[in-house]
């Protein structure tokens, strides 16, 4: 740094915002970094979605049509990884970056430079992973991309993993570092940067759910890093963590992985709980029912998420006491989750409801997430899980909670806060088209998966028995329809970014509450340089 630049910094000359590429590359502004996260996650959503289209094209009809089974496995693997780590997680981090400082009256995130770093690692992490896929699709000799499922069970990923597994390991390490830094930033911001008077129990629920999510991230992402490190040393440095021949145990991998993996699913859904807890009161024109119980329910879900991991592996041959423990603990999670659903419904009860776009998405979230939760409760029952395990029933379950759950709530958040981000109202016509097409196609896509799953269609195969043909045809149609519907959102977002549309007032939603609506739309580059007064 030159002295001139240092002096420049000392003067706190905030009045001219950096422009061009530098604005984005060197940004330490929470709003710009939030925007980067959101665009990145949407790009990854389209990339992962394209892979899902390849999967559904192959499964449109029985028999082999477009890709060979080897490439099909790479598609299911990378689709899962991209969607989990590239679409859902960065989208919620983007929302956190944009909204948490605005919601708690802070001028920025607590650690702005780390914030820049945690974003800019991500494109490289996914660049590495997608490079492996491109090599597989177009490279010389078509070396395989990771093909062992997003759960990368040993020994598929250790002894039998393709050479690109090492790219995958590096990529996961980078994603993990990014997530941990993002999470640390959220915790430090929420603990130290709140405006005077903003006590913990006055914070908007989105901030609460993100604070708890951040703690989960700091607790389990290092465990994921540990798992991939063990894989790496097993593959290249002669250790035998997961290799039976050397005294290791492949089942250990599943324990380590799911110790990370189960809290991970709550990492993806807790911010969604915060989003709908902001939106439903705004359009029901009533305060959120049971605020304190929502906070405690979120915390209980987070704590319980550490003691349910083995419900993903009931079929490995656990002792009876073990399966019973994990079964009851899993069922116990439905209690705090039920409290939340009850509170959302109670908030709407006798409210002055209007159904603007964010509210439509939020209500769809409540209903469809509950469907996904219900099938989760079925999966929790050990004896019946033996039937459902590794079938399309599981695929239906986690797509209900992640697509019609997490992603629907992220769309709800986008429509709710786009006026604040861009200064213009998102197009109503396009938004309605996006919502109704997504709603109907997502159900056509995922609901019949329950039926084929119960009938015994296993997941992660490029082909299926003939009796599943009709259902799979309609599932694929739903898939293409859902995929195309997301292009509508791309248009909505680009229109907002280009400021095309009705100008948005500071508070575009009549019943909305919160500090974010006290700043103009679009939110200025710097907000709350002097802390706001909290009533």
């Amino acid at each position: 740094m030159s002295t001139a630049a240092a002096t420049h910094d000392d003067h706190h000359d905030h009045h001219h915002a950096p422009t061009g590429l530098k604005r984005w590359l060197f940004s330490t502004n929470h709003k710009d970094i939030g925007t980067l996260y959101l665009w990145f996650s949407f790009a990854m959503f389209l990339v992962g979605g394209f892979m899902a289209m390849v999967i559904r094209a192959e499964l449109l009809e029985p028999g082999m049509q477009f890709v060979d089974p080897e490439f099909f496995n790479q598609m299911t693997t990378v689709h899962g990884l991209v969607m989990v780590f590239g679409a859902v997680m960065p989208a919620t981090v983007g929302l956190a970056n944009w909204m948490i400082p605005l919601m708690i009256g802070a001028p920025d995130m607590a650690l702005p430079r780390m914030n820049n770093w945690s974003f800019w690692i991500l494109p490289f992490a996914f660049g590495i992973l997608i490079f492996a896929v491109l090599m597989s699709a177009f490279g010389a000799g078509n070396p395989s991309a990771p093909n062992f499922g997003w759960t990368f069970y040993a020994p598929l990923s250790t002894k039998y993993g393709p050479a690109s597994t090492d790219l995958f390991i590096l990529s996961v390490h980078m994603m993990g570092i990014s997530s941990i830094m993002g999470a640390i930033n959220v915790v430090v911001t929420v603990f130290n940067m709140r405006a005077p008077g903003m006590t913990l129990m006055k914070m908007p629920l989105f901030v609460w759910t993100w604070l708890i999510t951040a703690f989960l991230l700091i607790a389990v992402i290092p465990v994921l890093a540990g798992a991939v490190t063990m894989m790496l040393t097993d593959r290249h440095f002669g250790t035998s963590f997961f290799d039976a021949a050397g005294g290791g145990d492949p089942v250990l991998f599943q324990h380590v992985f799911w110790f990370f993996g189960h809290p991970e699913v709550y990492i993806m859904i807790l911010p969604s709980f915060g989003i709908v807890s902001a939106i439903i009161p705004a359009f029901a024109r009533k305060p959120l029912f049971g605020y304190a119980s929502m906070v405690y329910a979120t915390a209980s879900i987070a704590l319980l998420s550490f003691v349910v991991w083995a419900h993903h592996m009931f079929t490995v041959g656990m002792p009876l006491a073990g399966t019973l423990f994990f079964m009851y603990m899993t069922m116990l999670i439905s209690v705090p989750t039920g409290v939340k659903v009850f509170n959302w419904v109670a908030t709407m009860w006798r409210g002055s409801l209007t159904f603007e776009l964010p509210m439509k998405w939020a209500i769809a979230f409540v209903i469809l997430f509950t469907c996904g939760g219900l099938s989760g409760l079925m999966l929790a029952i050990t004896p019946v899980d033996f039937q459902y395990h590794d079938t399309y029933f599981v695929v239906a379950h986690f797509h209900y909670v992640l697509v019609t759950g997490a992603i629907f709530s992220i769309f709800a958040a986008a429509y709710y806060w786009l006026p604040k981000w861009s200064g213009v109202m998102p197009s109503k016509l396009l938004g309605e088209l996006h919502f109704w097409n997504s709603l109907i196609s997502a159900n056509l896509l995922f609901f019949p998966m329950h039926f084929v799953g119960l009938a015994g269609m296993p997941r992660r195969y490029a082909d299926y028995a003939l009796q599943f043909a009709d259902y799979n045809f309609w599932i694929s149609i739903g898939g293409f329809w859902f995929g195309l519907s997301q292009v509508i959102f791309l248009i909505v977002a680009i229109r907002c970014a280009m400021k095309k549309g009705e100008p948005a007032p500071a508070k575009p939603w009549e019943g909305a509450e919160g500090l974010e609506w006290e700043v103009p739309s679009p939110a200025p580059f710097h907000t709350f340089d002097t802390p706001p007064v909290i009533k």
Binding site: A110, L111, K159, I180, I184, V187, V188, F191, N192, M193, I218, A219, V220, I221, P222, V223, A225, G226, A227, T229, M230, G238, F241, A244, A245, G246, G247, D249, V251, L252, H255, V256, F259, V316, G317, M318, P319, L320, G322
Partner: protein, 192 residues
């Protein structure tokens, strides 16, 4: 800085950051701690069908003559094994506490010596802790000379306390070729 003065935001941020980083590093360590922890749990409970890797030294207290348990033996060939690996006895009915000898055979049809390691596993897993082996080829690595057919005996008894509902269980052995692994270890020792 005295304790009376409130800390600046930057100072508080740094303190929180430090705590969180320490926590993240500790959780990375915890992932590795899960490995010995898992092994101990497996040893104690027989979780996952792991049998003890050391020889039982005590003789059984008694023989329960009024009940029999069927023990089945299956064998599998792991990576690098091209020869045979079978048990002479496919199943045996034993009284708990009765000392029994069974024979396994492995052949090495290749032209070079081979170091093998056999890994046991019991299904259902809860039977594992009641299986006591006084001698087993799985306790050590077995070297098969080129062209050798090796007799590998295993002597075991069942704990007289084995629960009544376990009438039958399967003991499986998978044999692995660990020649390269052993050679690699020796080389690295030599280098050091």
């Amino acid at each position: 800085m005295s304790d009376n003065q409130p800390l600046s935001v930057e100072e508080r941020n740094k303190r929180t950051l430090k705590k969180l980083v320490i926590w993240a590093v500790a959780m990375f360590g915890f992932a590795f701690l899960m490995v010995p922890f898992y092994n101990v749990i497996c040893d104690i409970t027989g979780l996952n069908g792991k049998t003890s890797s050391t020889a039982a030294t005590q003789a059984p207290e008694k023989v329960v003559a009024d009940r029999t348990v069927t023990v089945e033996f299956i064998t599998q060939r792991g990576d690098g094994i091209s020869g045979e690996f079978t048990s002479e006895t496919k199943r045996v009915k034993v009284h708990p506490g009765e000392i029994t000898l069974v024979h396994f055979y492995a052949t090495n049809p290749t032209g070079s010596d081979m170091v093998t390691q056999s890994i046991p596993s019991v299904t259902p897993g809860e039977a594992a802790r009641y299986l006591h082996k006084t001698q087993c080829f799985c306790f050590d690595q077995q070297t098969l000379a080129a062209g050798e057919r090796k007799d590998m005996p295993m002597i075991f008894y069942l704990d007289p306390e084995i629960p009544r509902h376990i009438n039958q269980f399967t003991l499986s052995y998978t044999i692995f070729d660990v020649t390269e692994r052993v050679a690699g270890k020796n080389n690295s020792v030599a280098v050091n």
